[in-house]
């Protein structure tokens, strides 16, 4: 089946991102197609390029990137939610005159339309919230 995940919790602060990642791995291990993870509300913090958790703790940002690269999962971050929270890629940083980039590939800033599209297109959409 084709799945999508909607994630609305920030890494570390609550369990949503951990649960979502664990579920994502189980999905691909079972042979399902995880088309995309859509990050909205505080979930956009999962794209924070500069996150530096201690070595003995999970690195959620890297873990999502690893999932994306290994299993071709799109990582779509709601641009409006991201900008408000200081999560900007190179293009947006330039556009807003910011000296620094906080989001990079494979995370992609995109519109809410993508979430709706995913929800309609995929067989299943599972939400993880704070």
């Amino acid at each position: 089946m084709r799945y999508a995940i909607l994630l609305m919790g920030a890494p570390y602060s609550d369990q949503a991102s951990h649960s979502a990642l664990r579920f994502a791995h189980a999905l691909v291990a079972r042979g399902h197609c995880l088309e995309a993870v859509f990050f909205y509300h505080d979930g956009v913090h999962n794209a924070a390029r500069l996150a530096a958790p201690p070595q003995d703790e999970p690195h959620l940002v890297d873990a999502w990137a690893g999932l994306a690269n290994e299993h071709r999962v799109a990582l779509q971050v709601c641009i409006a939610a991201a900008l408000r929270r200081g999560l900007l890629d190179e293009r947006e940083a330039a556009r807003h005159g910011k000296d620094g980039v906080s989001v990079q590939a494979p995370f992609e800033l995109t519109g809410l339309g993508q979430l709706v599209d995913l929800g309609m297109r995929c067989d299943r959409l599972v939400t993880f919230g704070p």
């Binding site: 909205y40 409006a80 809410l112 309609m120």
Partner: protein, 125 residues
């Protein structure tokens, strides 16, 4: 393995938070509006504290933020005319649907559960 049921509507957006206290209400509304703009049939369900999103005479937020009242008043323009409210959410606050700024359909538990089945996609905010 798509299910081929006939759905009354495409998207049910559940709004469970009131205005100003958090970003949930606005973020949920934004998703609903985008879906409607893309031609989807959208229903809004105000549950629990979410019913207060429909209180009339709302004002700006603590730092002068616009809030969501204006957007809600324009819902018809966005082709969102299915406004559902959890009856329990109203009664808990001592409110009735007459107190609200828009015409709504008030739902009690059995009807509420049916609404979930009638939509292809349900997003909780």
């Amino acid at each position: 393995m798509q299910d081929h049921h006939h759905y009354d509507s495409d998207l049910l957006v559940i709004l469970r938070h009131g205005p100003h206290g958090s970003s949930w209400l606005k973020e949920g509304l934004d998703a609903a509006l985008v879906a409607a703009a893309f031609g989807r049939r959208v229903s809004l369900l105000f549950m629990g504290e979410g019913v207060t999103a429909l209180m009339p005479c709302q004002k700006k937020g603590p730092l002068g933020q616009k809030g969501t009242a204006e957007t809600l008043e324009m819902l018809e323009m966005y082709d969102i005319d299915s406004l559902l409210v959890e009856e329990q959410g109203l009664s808990c606050l001592g409110l009735s649907s007459d107190d609200l700024m828009l015409e709504v359909t008030s739902l009690s538990p059995p009807a509420l559960a049916r609404v979930f089945a009638e939509h292809r996609l349900v997003l909780t905010f």
